[in-house]
C-alpha cells in the first residue's frame, strides 16, 4: 500500500450515478487521495486499488428496486472479490442500496415512510464499530450530515441479531444523540442509518458524508468518515493491526 495521502480509491460509475463527481472531488481535492472512476462495464478494478466507493445517484434510473440492476453489472463481481479479501468498501445512498442488493451488506432499503423524497440535514450517532470508516470516530459522537433519498427506509428481518453482531454503524438521532422516532427521517428500523458486513470492512449509509466535508458548504462533520479511512491505513502502515 502506498502512503495514506495517495490512497488509491476506485469510485464506481453506473449509468445514472450522480454523486460520482462529488465523491471524486472530496476524495481528491479535500482528502488528497488518488481517486479515480471505474466504469460499470469494466470487468476488473485497477491494480492495487485500496478502497472502493459506490457513490449515490439513481443507477439505471432506479426504475426497478433501487440498486437492483446495478448489483448485476460487470464490475460488481470484482467488487465482491475485493470485499471478500477484507478490503474497505463504502456505499453512500444509492451505493448503500447497491451493496444491499449485491448481498455485500445485510438488509434492504424501502420507500421512506413519508412516501416522499427527503433532502435535509439529519443527525447520526456513531455506534463505535471498528470499521475503516468509523473506527477513528468516538462512539456516541453525533454528526450532522445531509440525506437526500426516497428509498432510505432500512429494514432487516432480525434487528436483534444485527445489533448483537455489531453491524449497526450509524443511527439517526436528535442533536443530543437520542435515537427517537421524531429524529428518524424515513422510518428505518432501529433508526438505522448505516450498517456494515460481518467482517466490518464493507459499510453502507444513506446520509451523504461527501456533502458535509468542506467549510464553505457550512459543515465538515462528514469528513470524519474519510479521515477515519485514512487513519485506518496509517494504522496498518504503522503495523498496529
Amino acid at each position: 500500500m502506498s502512503s495514506p495521502s495517495r490512497l488509491r480509491v476506485a469510485i464506481i460509475q453506473f449509468p445514472g450515478s450522480n454523486c460520482d463527481d462529488d465523491a471524486l472531488h472530496v476524495l481528491t481535492k479535500v482528502m488528497g487521495t488518488a481517486a479515480s472512476f471505474v466504469w460499470h462495464k469494466d470487468t476488473s478494478l485497477p491494480d492495487a486499488t485500496d478502497v472502493v466507493i459506490v457513490p449515490g445517484g439513481f443507477s439505471y434510473g432506479d426504475y426497478l428496486r433501487s440498486g437492483a440492476i446495478a448489483a448485476q453489472s460487470n464490475i460488481m463481481d470484482s467488487v465482491r472479490n475485493f470485499a471478500g479479501a477484507g478490503k474497505p468498501v463504502l456505499g453512500i445512498c444509492n451505493g448503500f442500496q447497491v451493496l444491499c442488493e449485491s448481498g455485500l451488506l445485510p438488509g434492504a432499503l424501502a420507500r421512506n415512510s413519508t412516501l416522499k423524497f427527503e433532502c435535509k440535514d439529519v443527525f447520526v450517532r456513531v455506534e463505535g464499530m471498528p470499521t475503516p470508516f468509523s473506527s477513528a470516530i468516538p462512539a456516541g459522537r453525533v454528526l450532522r450530515i445531509p440525506i437526500a433519498h426516497a428509498d432510505g427506509r432500512y429494514f432487516h428481518e432480525n434487528l436483534a441479531a444485527l445489533e448483537s453482531a455489531g453491524q449497526v454503524v450509524f443511527r439517526y438521532c436528535d442533536h443530543a444523540g437520542g435515537v427517537t422516532a421524531e429524529a428518524n427521517p424515513n422510518g428505518s428500523i432501529g433508526g438505522i442509518a448505516g450498517v456494515c458486513n460481518a467482517k466490518g470492512n464493507v459499510v453502507g449509509l444513506m446520509p451523504h458524508p461527501e456533502r458535509a466535508s468542506e467549510s464553505i458548504l457550512g459543515n465538515v462533520d462528514g469528513r470524519q468518515l474519510f479521515e477515519s479511512l485514512l487513519m485506518s491505513f496509517e494504522g496498518k502502515a504503522g503495523g498496529k493491526q
Binding site: P15, N18, F58, G61, R211, L217, G218
Partner: protein, 748 residues
C-alpha cells in the same frame, strides 16, 4: 412536388388548416411560400413552426425593445439559452421556460418534462447544468385541485431534477385565485461551460451527416406546442392529456453525459440542438435556417417506438430526451462509439445540403419539401392593445380607507401573514428537491434572499454565482409597467443584499390571450417596465420565453413576467444570509418607508382585496441601495441582511428571528410616522433590513451616508420575543409555528 404518400394523408384544405390552428391569412401565406397546396406533413411543419409557442408571433415586435447586450453577454436571446462571461475562461449558460399547460393537465409529467426540457436547452450548448430554480403559481389553497396540483408538480420537479443530479437550489411559490384554472410552472437551469466550449444549433458544412440520438420517437406529445401551449383552456382541457409528454430522467442523464463527452472531442460535433417543442420539426428547421443551409432526412431511419408512424407523427412527436447533431463528415463511427458506451439509441438520419430547404423522405418518396427560412422566421403580428377599463376603479381604492386593525390585534395580523402560504416557509417543497448534490450549495433554500452556489475556477479556487427568481403578479395586475419594474428591482435587491453583483436575466413572460387588446396592453406595458429596469441595473436579458393563452374559460391570469436574475460573488464565503447571528447586534433599516399597501399581502390577507396602486419605484434610489449592500457584504460589515418586500418589515423581522438556530428575538421601534399597518406591513421597495455589530455600526452609517441611502437604527437583536414598541409583542414559538405550518396546511 408530387407529395407521394403511401399512407393516404388527408388532403389539405382551408378547413383542415383551420382545424390545425392556422388562420386563413396564415394559410394563404403558406400557399404563397410553397407556390402550391402543401402535403399534410408539410401542413404539420407550418402549423408547428408558426405556433405562438414556437414563433413568438404576437410578442416578437415588442421583445425587440429589450436590452440584450453588454460586456458580460456572450450570447443573447435566440439560441437554446443565453450565455454570460463569468471570468476565468468560464461562462454561465441559463434559461427559464414555462410548462404551464402540460402541468395543469398532468402535474407530475408536465412539471418533470418542463425540467427536462430546460436542462436540455442548457447542456445542448455545451454546459454542465449545476443549478435549477423554479417559480410556481397555483390557485387559492382552498381550491379543490390546489393540493393535488402542488403535490404533483413538486414531485415531478423533484423526480426529474433529483435523478439528473442537478440541485434545485431555490425558487418561488405563490397562490392566487387567478391561477385556479391555469397554474404556472416556470423552470430555470444554469450550467457552466468553458468559454471556448460553447455549441450552437447550426447545420453547417455541406455533406455533414445528421445524427439523431436519445430516446426513440413515439406518438406522445404530438401537438404539444401547437395545440396545448398555444390555445386557451376550457372544460375540454382534460381531454388534452395525451398531448402531454412523459419524461424519463434516466434517459436524459445518459444523454447529458454522452453529449458532454461528444463535445469534449475536438471537432467531432459541428452543431447540436435538442428536440423540444415541435420535436424534429423545429430542431431541423432551426438548425438549417441558422446556417443558411438545407437538410435532407430519411424518416425511415429515425428510431421509432412503434411501427407505422406517419411522417406527420414523426415530425410532430414531442417524445422527450432526444437530440439532433451535425457530425463532421468522416467521423461518424467515432461519434457512434461514444453513444454505444452510454447505451443510447442513435442513427444517422440525413445530411446537410446547399438547398436551404428541409426535405423529408419516407418509403423512398419525398413527403415534404419546404424552405427552412420562412418557417424559422415565423410570423409577426402587431396586435391591437388597449388599457383595461377596470383599472381606474381598482387603482382608486385607498387601502388606508379600509378599517384598520387596532394596535392590540397587530400581533395576530403578523402571525396571519406569516402563515399565509405565500409567505410561510416552503420547506415542504424544498425537502423534496435534492438541493445539495454537486457539493456546491452555499446557501440552503430560504436561507438568504439569493441562492448562492460555489463554482470552481480552473485553478480549483471557489467563486460564487447568486440566483433569484421573482414576480409580484398583483403589482403587475394593478400596474403592469410598475409591476415589472418592481419585479426586476426585487430580483436585483435579493442578489445585492446577499452580496451578489447582478449580471443578467432570463424571463418567462406569462400572460393571457394576446388576441385580446387588454392582454396585449398588459404585455406591452410589462416589457416597457422590464426594459427600463434592466437598463438601469445593467442586467440585460439573455434568454427567455413567452407564454400566452394562460386563460381558462376566457379568464386570464394576472400578468406574470417571471424574472430570474444571475449574479456573481467573487468570494462565496462573503454571502450574507437572513438570520440574526447573535444577541446585541444593532438592527438597521436602509431606505425610506412609505404607505405602500396597494397590492400588498396585508391587503389580501386581512381584507381579501387586490387593489390600490403598487409602490412607485425610484430606480436610482434602488440602484444606490444595491451598490451599498454589495459593498457592505464585500467588506464583511454586516451580520445579516434581508430585503423588505411582501409583508413589510413585520414579516422581515420575524423571518430574521426564526431563521436563527436557535431563534433569536429582537426589540425595535419604528419611528416613520406612518399608520401602524403601513409602518409594519407596507411594502415600499428599495429597502433592506440589516444587523450589524456595534463595532461596525459607524462604518456602515458612514458608507450609507456616502452612498446617499437613508439609514436608521431601529433596535437590537436578543431575547426570546419579537417586540415592535407599541405594536407587536410576540413570543418566538408562535411565530415559528405560523411560519412553519402555513404552507403544509395547503397540502396535508
Amino acid at each position: 412536388m408530387s407529395a407521394g404518400n403511401a399512407r393516404q394523408e388527408p388532403v389539405v384544405t382551408r378547413e383542415v388548416g383551420r382545424a390545425h390552428g392556422l388562420t386563413d391569412g396564415e394559410f394563404d401565406r403558406m400557399l404563397e411560400i410553397l407556390g402550391r397546396t402543401p402535403s399534410f406533413t408539410e401542413l404539420g411543419l407550418f402549423m408547428s413552426a408558426w405556433s405562438e409557442h414556437c414563433s413568438y408571433k404576437s410578442s416578437r415586435i415588442h421583445l425587440k425593445g429589450l436590452p440584450t447586450t453588454g460586456p458580460q453577454v456572450v450570447q443573447g436571446p435566440g439560441e437554446n439559452a443565453g450565455i454570460i462571461d463569468i471570468g476565468d475562461g468560464q461562462v454561465a449558460v441559463f434559461k427559464m421556460e414555462s410548462h404551464n399547460h402540460p402541468s395543469f393537465v398532468e402535474p407530475y409529467q408536465g412539471a418533470a418534462t418542463g425540467v427536462g426540457g430546460i436542462m436540455r436547452d442548457v447542456f445542448t450548448m455545451g454546459a454542465r447544468p449545476v443549478a435549477s430554480l423554479n417559480a410556481l403559481r397555483f390557485g387559492p389553497p382552498a381550491h379543490p385541485r390546489t393540493a393535488y396540483l402542488v403535490s404533483g408538480v413538486v414531485a415531478g420537479i423533484g423526480g426529474y431534477g433529483n435523478s439528473m443530479g442537478v440541485p434545485t437550489v431555490g425558487g418561488d411559490v405563490a397562490f392566487d385565485e387567478c391561477y385556479a384554472g391555469n397554474i404556472l410552472v416556470n423552470a430555470f437551469t444554469l450550467g457552466i461551460a468553458k468559454r471556448e466550449g460553447i455549441f450552437y444549433g447550426t447545420a453547417s458544412g455541406i455533406g455533414n451527416p445528421l445524427l439523431y440520438f436519445g430516446s426513440k420517437t413515439g406518438r406522445d406529445g404530438i401537438h404539444g406546442a401547437s395545440l396545448l401551449a398555444s390555445a386557451e383552456f376550457d372544460e375540454t382541457s382534460e381531454e388534452k392529456r395525451p398531448t402531454v409528454q412523459v419524461g424519463d430522467p434516466f434517459a436524459e442523464k445518459l444523454l447529458l453525459e454522452a453529449c458532454l463527452e461528444l463535445m469534449a472531442v475536438p471537432g467531432l460535433l459541428v452543431g447540436i440542438q435538442d428536440m423540444g417543442a415541435a420535436g424534429l420539426t423545429s430542431s431541423s428547421i432551426e438548425m438549417a435556417a441558422r446556417a443558411g443551409n438545407g437538410v435532407e432526412m430519411d424518416l425511415d431511419k429515425v428510431p421509432l417506438r412503434e411501427a407505422g408512424m406517419s411522417a406527420y407523427e414523426i415530425m410532430l412527436s414531442e417524445s422527450q430526451e432526444r437530440m439532433l447533431a451535425v457530425v463532421t463528415k468522416g467521423r461518424e463511427e467515432e461519434a457512434m462509439k461514444i453513444l454505444e458506451k452510454w447505451d443510447i439509441d442513435a442513427a444517422y438520419v440525413g445530411v446537410v445540403t446547399t438547398t436551404g430547404r428541409v426535405v423529408l423522405k419516407q418509403g423512398g418518396k419525398v413527403v415534404a419539401d419546404v424552405p427552412a427560412d420562412p418557417l424559422a422566421e415565423g410570423l409577426r403580428y402587431d396586435r391591437p392593445s388597449a388599457r383595461p377599463g377596470y383599472l381606474d376603479a381598482i387603482n382608486a381604492v385607498d387601502p388606508l380607507s379600509l378599517p384598520q386593525p387596532t394596535n392590540d390585534k397587530l400581533g395576530q395580523v403578523l402571525l396571519d401573514l406569516l402563515a399565509s402560504p405565500n409567505i410561510a416557509s416552503k420547506e415542504w417543497v424544498f425537502r423534496q428537491y435534492d438541493h445539495m448534490v454537486r457539493v456546491g450549495t452555499v446557501t440552503r433554500p430560504g436561507e438568504a434572499d439569493a441562492s448562492v452556489i460555489r463554482v470552481l475556477r480552473p485553478d480549483g479556487t471557489a467563486k460564487g454565482i447568486g440566483l433569484s427568481v421573482d414576480c409580484n403578479s398583483r403589482y403587475c395586475f394593478l400596474d403592469p409597467y410598475e409591476g415589472s419594474r418592481l419585479t426586476v428591482a426585487e430580483c436585483a435587491r435579493n442578489l445585492a443584499v446577499s452580496g451578489v453583483r447582478p449580471q443578467a436575466i432570463t424571463d418567462c413572460l406569462n400572460y393571457g390571450n394576446p388576441e385580446k387588446p387588454e392582454i396585449m396592453w398588459q404585455f406591452i406595458e410589462g416589457i416597457r417596465g422590464m426594459s427600463e429596469a434592466c437598463k438601469a441595473f445593467n442586467t440585460p436579458i439573455v434568454s427567455g420565453n413567452v407564454s400566452f393563452y394562460n386563460e381558462t374559460d376566457g379568464k386570464g391570469i394576472y400578468p406574470t413576467p417571471m424574472i430570474a436574475m444571475v449574479g456573481l460573488i467573487d468570494d462565496p464565503t462573503k454571502t450574507v444570509t437572513h438570520a440574526w447571528k447573535g444577541e446585541g447586534d444593532v438592527i438597521v433599516v436602509l431606505g425610506k418607508a412609505s404607505t405602500d399597501l396597494g397590492g400588498s399581502e396585508y391587503l389580501k390577507v386581512v381584507h381579501g382585496k387586490v387593489a390600490g396602486r403598487p409602490p412607485r419605484l425610484d430606480i436610482d434610489a434602488e440602484h444606490r441601495l444595491h451598490q451599498l449592500c454589495i459593498a457592505l457584504a464585500d467588506a464583511r460589515l454586516v451580520r445579516s441582511a434581508h430585503d423588505l418586500s411582501e409583508g413589510g418589515i413585520g414579516v422581515a423581522l420575524a423571518e430574521c428571528c426564526i431563521s436563527a438556530s436557535p431563534a433569536i428575538g429582537c426589540e425595535v421601534e419604528l419611528k416613520d410616522g406612518l399608520a401602524p399597518v403601513a409602518s409594519l406591513f407596507g411594502e415600499a421597495p428599495s429597502r433592506a433590513l440589516l444587523s450589524v455589530t456595534a463595532e461596525n455600526l459607524e462604518k456602515v452609517r458612514a458608507q450609507a451616508a456616502a452612498a446617499n441611502v437613508p439609514f436608521e437604527v431601529i433596535g437590537r437583536t436578543g431575547g426570546r420575543k419579537l417586540v415592535v414598541k407599541g405594536l407587536v409583542d410576540l413570543e418566538l414559538a408562535p411565530i415559528s409555528a405560523a411560519h412553519k405550518t402555513g404552507f403544509r396546511k395547503v397540502v396535508e
